[in-house]
Assembly symmetry: C2
């Protein structure tokens, strides 16, 4: 049995999964807070690096063997050689250009966390077997990833799949990246206070009011879902996926998302020959990145996987 | 010397180019009106099929030899096997499911005309050597194509790259495909009368007024360029190309497009690490599809090409 480990390094938590690579069976899961090693600075290495080592050690103790295949996902843009995060401003200091194969003392395939989440859903989640598929994550911000023709869409500098930053209202103000009236600004948690005139601080408060029959909440939600559908429509016309997978914290309100989104898509979506995109809910939740990091490493090292 | 022919079948004209496939040298060009064979129906075959045969015959007479590599581009979505157009409603009756290798009596690689135009620009035009690049064609409508990781983005049903149908104003009315406030509706020639309150019938009239110092024309143009920049921004964040190539009839007003577009991009574009997308003008004009059809055929038959 050959073992593989996938690690997702997040701003608050490091998560890891260990698999039997031959059988595709989960062997163990582990997680630690990203900053739980309090005196990390004394070692001259960032706390997140120690946390990753601890999660790897936990998993290998559980499975009783070293992992031959190792993948790691993290925020930022991965290098073209997939050995490190090559660009991440203002977060996780020390992560940019940190070479993981040196630190973990074995080949480690590194990729962006949203990219990993989609590969995870394709490998073990709700996008199994799909070769043309889009992931949208709805949370504080809106992110995503694209697989087209069976390949991860990375692009020229690894920025591919920043799906929250598509313009849906070109005369509006720019978002955090400069995009006018972006999908992120129309749907993400970060703007719910602005979108509700200060009434709601979090999307789940909006959902509660919606469920209590509040008509203002209904209007705000419907406008968000119209924007989401317009964004999905754009992505369908550009990328032509078989399915759009929706994840992130806001997707817990699935019974309010799915019917509203499909209603607007009936109006907006171009359906040549009757083809219509499938809207599916993500399955792996916060573990998707760890699954996907391993899936990516398996693909990168076929002789081992 | 091995000869190759690329044919672009359009609604009004059939264009063809013949190349020396080894040296990459153009040997001949030819074109005919798509419906110039007046009694075509008597043969039981559509007029466009006869026009294509005539253009092929013209080229082979000029080069004095049969072509070993043959590609054909046309409107609509190509089949997954690239032997025919599998979907085209309401235009060029008889083209859907017409099998070109039977009609031309040799293997013929078939692809969508916008896809072909981008492959042409990559092979012989302004996108030479690029592996992550987007083409936008601005004309009556707005179309385009995407190459990512060196591969044409086809998608699940061959719809990939319908870049005119991205939503830029999600509360607006739907365009011809249902997309609310689409790039096509904000920029294409088909809506210039609506966008100018009936004052201009064609974009070149708007450009003339703009050059005469008309302030209303300036405002309409600037709004269009803001929309175009918002669309380019969306495509950059999703697809991360090294360059966006702009073609189509409206691109003849390049000296008005380039500065306005770049000014808005300075405001809208996310430039991680200083990276910025290049805006380039398409080079091959109306012949791009024919070039690209041959480029596609060469790629599909490497042993011949």
């Amino acid at each position: 049995m050959r073992h593989g480990i996938g690690i997702d390094l997040g701003g608050t938590t490091v998560k890891g999964v260990a698999f039997d690579c031959d059988g595709g069976q989960m062997l163990a899961q582990a997680s630690q807070p990203t900053d739980f090693v309090v005196n990390a600075a004394d070692s001259g290495q960032p706390a997140f690096a120690h946390a990753v080592r601890c999660v790897v050690a936990d998993l290998e103790r559980d499975i009783g063997a070293p992992a031959k295949v190792m993948g790691l996902s993290a925020p930022g843009m991965a290098s073209a050689g997939s050995d490190r995060i090559a660009y991440i401003p203002n977060r996780l200091e020390g992560l940019q250009d940190f070479v993981w194969s040196d630190w973990l003392q074995r080949p480690t395939a590194v990729l962006n966390d949203a990219h990993a989440a989609l590969l995870g859903e394709i490998w073990q989640g709700s996008a199994r077997g799909l070769s043309d598929v889009v992931l949208l994550t709805l949370g504080t911000g809106v992110g995503g990833a694209v697989v087209t023709g069976g390949k991860l869409l990375r692009g020229h500098i690894g920025r591919g799949g920043h799906l929250g930053h598509i313009a849906l209202d070109f005369m509006a103000e720019g978002d955090i990246c400069g995009t006018p009236g972006s999908l992120e600004d129309q749907v993400g948690n970060a703007t719910i206070a602005v979108r509700s005139g200060g009434r709601f601080a979090m999307t789940h408060e909006l959902i509660e009011a919606l469920e209590a029959g509040d008509s203002e909440a209904r209007d705000i939600w419907d406008r968000s879902m119209r924007a989401l559908a317009a964004g999905v429509t754009s992505l369908v016309n550009v990328l032509d996926p078989k399915a759009v997978i929706i994840g992130g914290g806001i997707s817990t309100a699935w019974h309010h998302i799915e019917p509203a989104l499909n209603r607007w898509l009936d109006e907006f979506e171009w359906r040549p020959g009757g083809a219509r995109v499938e809207i599916r809910r993500a399955k792996l939740g916060e573990w998707a990145g760890a699954y996907g990091a391993l899936a990516f490493a398996l693909e990168a090292s076929p002789s081992l996987g």
